[in-house]
Symmetry: C2
Subunit: 199 residues, 2 copies
Amino acid sequence: MTLEIQNQRIVTPFSLSIHSETGIPDNHDTLIERYLSKLADIYLDSEAAEAMVREKGDILTYQVFEKDIPEVNGELRFCSSIVYPGKVGDEYFMTKGHFHSRRDTAEIYYCIRGEGFMLMETEEGAYALEAFTPGRTVYVPGYYAHRSINTGTEPLVMLPIYPGDAGHDYGTIEHTGFKHLVVESDGKPTVIENPKYTN
Amino acid sequence: MTLEIQNQRIVTPFSLSIHSETGIPDNHDTLIERYLSKLADIYLDSEAAEAMVREKGDILTYQVFEKDIPEVNGELRFCSSIVYPGKVGDEYFMTKGHFHSRRDTAEIYYCIRGEGFMLMETEEGAYALEAFTPGRTVYVPGYYAHRSINTGTEPLVMLPIYPGDAGHDYGTIEHTGFKHLVVESDGKPTVIENPKYTN
């Protein structure tokens, strides 16, 4: 799929198919798998996460299937992202969330299956939440850290697309946490302030 | 959705929903509608196209619903693109096709409904064809003119996403035509050389 021509990698045309139920593509280069044992810290009740792993064994909370497209300006990178249903205490399974290293780059998420939310926050305190339902396309502007949250009972399957040179900055949000959390309250997804948030 | 801050347009988070059957989004800023009367020249048998319009009245062959996102580097523009089923003689309904003004920019098309092909050609003569089926994601590299073609009996609904500063160059391919055509032969989509192609 990629050719090496005079030290420049050229991507040739290709296509892949994303399964509408499982979200698994028929072709990928890299698979990122996030297990609860490694992610306990992103949840408000980290001890509950650790207890779940001890009692039930480790749990796969999300997967990202990626194609190896050059990380350069002008390119587009895309993946299939699957967040599995579940909760740690009242808090829904979710991704770690990230800023783009190049802050002014946007990202678009198309929801293929499931339901949930995209939580978006800037370093200056702006905040937004957009719902995921099948067919819903969420536009994440530059400067927003973003995290996808599965509030449903089936896998949340998304197609994220972002500029080749966006880059991922996981560290900043890992350090501060998000200012908001999405938890179940009276059986419904509810936004609360994150008591562990540090800025 | 966009704010004007010190002469800089900032896009705030938003989402929209694309109908899985019709492809029509619940929100758009611009609608491009392409009628056969204005597109007769892109078909091999232009006279047949003109005769169809005379006999049946004008025919809407495709629509593009766009959001007004700034055309700058770092942004992503996206739309819902719907090519309706039909033929001019043996040639399937299709888009005009275009290069990006900034040649080194890629584009990704996610197919929501229908079947067809993405025809891709570079100015240097490279050529590729990728199939559209629901869930299929086609990667169009930089430097490739691209045209989507509906070879099925239902609307071909696609979600195209491209860098904000890609730009559209319709003129180059309008002048030369594509080197290849997709026509029906023995009831099946078949690629032939375009006798009208000029380089």
